[in-house]
Symmetry: C2
Subunit: 166 residues, 2 copies
DNA sequence: GGTACAACTCTCAGCGCTGAGATTCTAGCG
DNA sequence: CGCTAGAATCTCAGCGCTGAGAGTTGTACC
């Protein structure tokens, strides 16, 4: 029973300590950029997820709702919610899918396309501004590292789903 | 009025395009790691934010609620909510602050200290496992880049708050 | 063809958190 | 000393999203 204010550190290896620090730094960087990006799209009354739907549809054309779901990493209920909101604003429309009557396409309306065309460059500039702390080369390195980090972690996820209990 | 399925890309510079790609990759990496970390603490019925409070108190000792708030980047209502929950579980206690009767300390109870001591190493291992896609050297580089990215972006935020209208 | 199973979407209760306002207290100034 | 500005916390309405379950349609195997 030590009465010291600072408790003795539990057994955590230096490598684990480093991983935890990276996790903190990754979280803070993500939060900082997300705040910027969210503030930018909020000027148009949109959330980041809503804007993500528009962006995806703009770049990939009409998508099944399930594709949008996997592309944005949201839940099934989430896609319904997001597309509902964008539909109410007249930016997106739901179209029937001829090959599969369970599925539906999300499609940008003309107004939606015009909206993205106008807003996307501003958003790109806002994100680039938030990233300006790193040089172009540093951004390239960061992108490469984060890509492998993300895909490896996601793969680990998939493995653990295949064998839930050890 | 091109009728092409793929709309012509709006005017976005290559640098901005790269920044956007980095933003996507950063988001996905964060989401993947967060999923892992959240699943780990969920085994003990905790959220990541709740665990963050415990971790902060464990490493820094008693903290004013405002310090916890700034440390975890949550809202004022968020701290109240988080500390309420941890207090209900008997892991944290609120102590009066002698110097300032408006403020209150959040303090780990004995049970809370014991809990962190037991769970923290497991959590460190889980996070390290999620980071295993990068070598130790790569993690160091990533940490350095993300640190400057995060602090620079946060500083930009602070500047814009000082002069809200241009 | 029928039957079981899986895929796609939607519904809805509820969680975690935000942010504006209320409350309580401190600090500084005349 | 009284007063005002502002800080620390709490309250509470409400937002964005999750995830389990329902409804519907496609698929594969008897």
């Amino acid at each position: 029973m030590s009465s010291s204010r600072r408790p003795s550190p539990p057994d955590v290896s230096p490598a684990e300590r480093d991983a935890l620090r990276l996790w903190v730094v990754l979280s803070r960087a993500h939060a900082a950029i997300a705040t910027h990006a969210a503030a930018d799209v909020a000027r148009h009354g949109l959330t980041l997820a809503e804007f993500g739907v528009l962006e995806a549809l703009y770049h990939k054309g009409p998508m099944l709702l399930g594709e949008v779901q996997r592309s944005l990493l949201v839940s099934s209920g989430g896609v319904t919610y997001l597309v509902d909101r964008l539909e109410q604003r007249g930016l997106v429309r739901r179209d029937k899918c001829a090959e599969d009557r369970r599925a539906r396409y999300a499609v940008l309306t003309d107004a939606g396309t015009a909206f993205v065309r106008e807003v996307f460059p501003q958003h790109a500039a806002a994100v680039a501004g938030a990233m300006a702390g790193l040089s172009a080369d540093e951004q390239r390195v960061a992108r490469s590292l984060l890509r492998t980090l993300g895909t490896q972690a996601a793969e680990l996820e998939a493995e653990q789903e295949r064998e839930p209990a050890a």
